[in-house]
C-alpha cells in the first residue's frame, strides 16, 4: 500500500530530494567560509586557498539549481506550489552566491593583518560568521523534515531560522559599531572593504530567512 501511495508522490519526493542535495552543497560553502575566518583569526595566511574550493562548490550548486529548476518547471509536482519551490531553490542558491561574494571580498581586497585581527579576533567577527552558519544549518534541518514532519514542527524550525538571523544582525551591528569607533586606527579603504564584507555576508542569513518565509508560505498553501 505504501509503495502504491509513494508512486503517486514520487515526483514530489524527487523535488524535495533535489532541494536537499542542492542545500548540502550550499551548506558546505558556508562551512568553508567559516573555516576561512577561523584561519584568519589564527593569523594563518593560507585562508586564501579556500576561496577556490568555495568557488567550485558554488558552481556545482548552480548546476544542481539549474537542473532541479528545469525538472520542477517541466513537471507537475506539488500542483500549485511549484512556483514557490522554484523561489525556494533560487533563495538557497543566493546563499551560495552571497558566500562566494563575501569570500571574494576577503581574498581579493588584500586587507591588512591589523584590521583582520581586529575584526576576527578582538571583535565578534568570528562569532558573526558562526551565527550565519548556525542560521544556514537550521535551514538545512528544516529541509530534512519538510516533507515528513507535521505542520507545527516545520513552523517551529522556520521560526528558529528567523531567530538566528536576528541574532546575526545584532552581532553584525555590534561589530560595525566597534569598527567605526576604531576606524581611525586603520586605512580608510580597509574599513570600507571590511564594512562591505559584513554587509555582503549578511545576505547569507537574509536569504536563509527569506527561504524560511517561503517554506511558511508553502505550508500555509499546502495545508489549506
Amino acid at each position: 500500500m505504501r509503495r502504491v501511495s509513494k508512486l503517486f508522490v514520487s515526483g514530489e519526493q524527487e523535488v524535495t530530494n533535489s532541494i536537499r542535495r542542492h542545500f548540502t552543497i550550499v551548506e558546505k560553502c558556508v562551512e568553508l567560509l567559516y573555516s576561512m575566518i577561523e584561519k584568519i583569526s589564527e593569523g594563518d595566511q593560507s585562508f586564501v586557498n579556500l576561496f577556490s574550493d568555495i568557488d567550485l562548490l558554488e558552481t556545482q550548486a548552480d548546476e544542481i539549481h539549474k537542473s532541479a529548476s528545469e525538472k520542477i518547471a517541466s513537471g507537475s509536482f506539488f500542483a500549485y506550489l511549484s512556483s514557490d519551490f522554484l523561489n525556494l531553490l533560487e533563495r538557497n542558491d543566493d546563499i551560495a552566491d552571497a558566500t562566494k561574494d563575501a569570500a571574494k571580498v576577503l581574498v581579493e581586497s588584500n586587507l591588512s593583518n591589523e584590521i583582520l585581527t581586529f575584526v576576527f579576533k578582538n571583535l565578534e567577527g568570528k562569532e558573526y560568521v558562526a551565527s550565519l552558519l548556525k542560521t544556514v544549518k537550521t535551514l538545512g534541518k528544516l529541509y530534512e523534515v519538510l516533507e515528513s514532519a507535521k505542520k507545527e514542527e516545520i513552523i517551529k524550525f522556520s521560526h528558529n531560522v528567523e531567530r538566528y538571523e536576528e541574532d546575526a544582525d545584532l552581532i553584525k551591528a555590534r561589530v560595525m559599531k566597534e569598527l567605526f569607533l576604531n576606524s581611525k586606527k586603520f586605512n580608510v579603504l580597509d574599513v570600507v572593504v571590511m564594512k562591505d564584507f559584513l554587509n555582503v555576508a549578511d545576505n547569507i542569513a537574509d536569504n536563509a530567512e527569506d527561504a524560511s518565509d517561503i517554506v511558511l508560505k508553502i505550508i500555509a498553501k499546502g495545508f489549506s
Binding site: 501511495s5 503517486f8 508522490v9 514530489e12 519526493q13 524535495t16 513537471g75 507537475s76 506539488f78 500542483a79 500549485y80 519538510l146 516533507e147 515528513s148 514532519a149 507535521k150 505542520k151 516545520i154 508553502i218 505550508i219 498553501k221 499546502g222 495545508f223 489549506s224
Partner: protein, 291 residues
C-alpha cells in the same frame, strides 16, 4: 445536445485535473467519460420518474431538444454557465402549458423547489465538509496532504461526471425511453463531447473565488453528493449551479476570502434563474410556432 453537454460541462469538470497536471487530457477525458457512462447506465433510470410530469411530455421531445440546444448555445456565447436540467425541464413545461396538456403540478413544484434548495444546500454542505476536511488534513505531513489532494481530485472528478450522467443524461434518456440502451448511447455521445474538448475551459467556480486544490475537490465532491441525493428522488437539478454554490460554501469556510461579485451575480442570476426562465419562454414559443 448531449455532445454540447459533454463539450461544455464535462470539459469544465476535467479541467481541474488537467490544469493541475494530475492527469493529461486523454486520461482525464477517459475518467470523465467512464463516470458519465457508468452514472447514466447504473442510475439514469431513476430519472424516469420525471415522465410523470405529463403523459404528453414525450410527444414534444424534438422541440424541447431544439430549445435546450439553442439556449445552451446562446448562454455559451456569453460565457455564462448553462444548466441542462433546468433548461430541458422548464422548456418541456413551457410547451406543455401552451399545448394545454395536463401537468402533474405536485411533481413540477417538487422540481422547482429542488432548484431553489440546491444552491442553498450546496453552500451549507460544502461549508461543513470543508471545515471537517481542513481540520482532518492538519494531522498529516506535506507529502501525505499532497497525496490526499491528488486522490480527492480524481475521486471528485469521477463522482461529478457520474452524477452528471445519472441526473442530466438520465433526464434526457427518460424522455426517449429504452433504458439502459438509450442511456448508454447518450452517455457515449456526451463522452465524445468531453474527448473533443481539447481547449481547456475554466474549471467551474475558478472565476468566482480562489480556492485551494483541497477546497476545489471538497466543493466538487459535496455538490456531486447533493445532486446524487436528488437523483435518488428522481429530480433533475443543475450540476453546474450546485458545484458553483459549493465553491461559495468553501470560500465562506476559508479565513481569507475574496469573491468576484460580478461572477457571483452571474452564477446566481444567470445560471440559477435565467436558465429556467429562458427555458419556459422559449418553450412557450416553440409550442406556438413549431408543429
Amino acid at each position: 445536445m448531449l455532445f454540447v453537454l459533454g463539450f461544455n460541462n464535462g470539459a469544465a469538470i476535467k479541467s481541474s485535473l488537467v490544469s493541475s497536471g494530475i492527469q493529461n487530457q486523454k486520461k482525464a477525458s477517459l475518467l470523465v467519460a467512464s463516470g458519465l457512462i457508468l452514472g447514466s447506465v447504473m442510475e439514469g433510470w431513476k430519472m424516469e420518474r420525471i415522465q410523470l410530469v405529463s403523459t404528453s411530455a414525450s410527444l414534444y421531445t424534438f422541440q424541447v431538444v431544439l430549445v435546450t440546444l439553442l439556449i445552451m448555445f446562446l448562454l455559451s456565447l456569453f460565457n455564462s454557465p448553462a444548466s441542462l436540467a433546468q433548461i430541458f425541464f422548464s422548456s418541456t413545461l413551457g410547451i406543455l402549458i401552451v399545448k394545454h396538456a395536463s401537468i402533474n403540478l405536485n411533481l413540477s413544484i417538487e422540481v422547482i423547489l429542488s432548484w431553489i434548495f440546491t444552491p442553498l444546500l450546496s453552500v451549507l454542505l460544502a461549508y461543513l465538509t470543508y471545515k471537517l476536511t481542513f481540520s482532518f488534513i492538519q494531522k498529516f505531513c506535506l507529502l501525505e496532504v499532497t497525496l490526499l489532494s491528488k486522490l480527492m481530485a480524481l475521486v471528485a472528478v469521477f463522482y461529478s461526471s457520474y452524477v452528471l450522467g445519472a441526473n442530466n443524461i438520465g433526464l434526457v434518456s427518460a424522455f426517449y425511453g429504452g433504458w439502459p440502451i438509450v442511456g448508454l448511447f447518450f452517455s457515449v455521445v456526451a463522452s465524445l463531447g468531453v474527448y473533443f474538448s481539447k481547449k481547456l475551459t475554466k474549471s467551474l467556480g475558478e472565476d468566482l473565488i480562489v480556492v485551494s486544490p483541497v477546497g476545489a475537490s471538497v466543493s466538487t465532491f459535496s455538490a456531486s453528493f447533493l445532486v446524487w441525493i436528488f437523483t435518488q428522488l428522481g429530480l433533475p437539478v443543475s450540476v453546474t449551479t450546485s458545484i458553483m454554490s459549493s465553491v461559495i460554501g468553501v470560500g465562506l469556510a476559508s479565513k481569507i476570502r475574496v469573491f468576484n461579485l460580478r461572477t457571483l451575480f452571474s452564477v446566481t442570476v444567470v445560471s440559477w434563474v435565467l436558465s429556467a426562465l429562458l427555458g419556459l419562454i422559449f418553450g412557450n414559443l416553440a409550442g406556438i410556432y413549431l408543429a
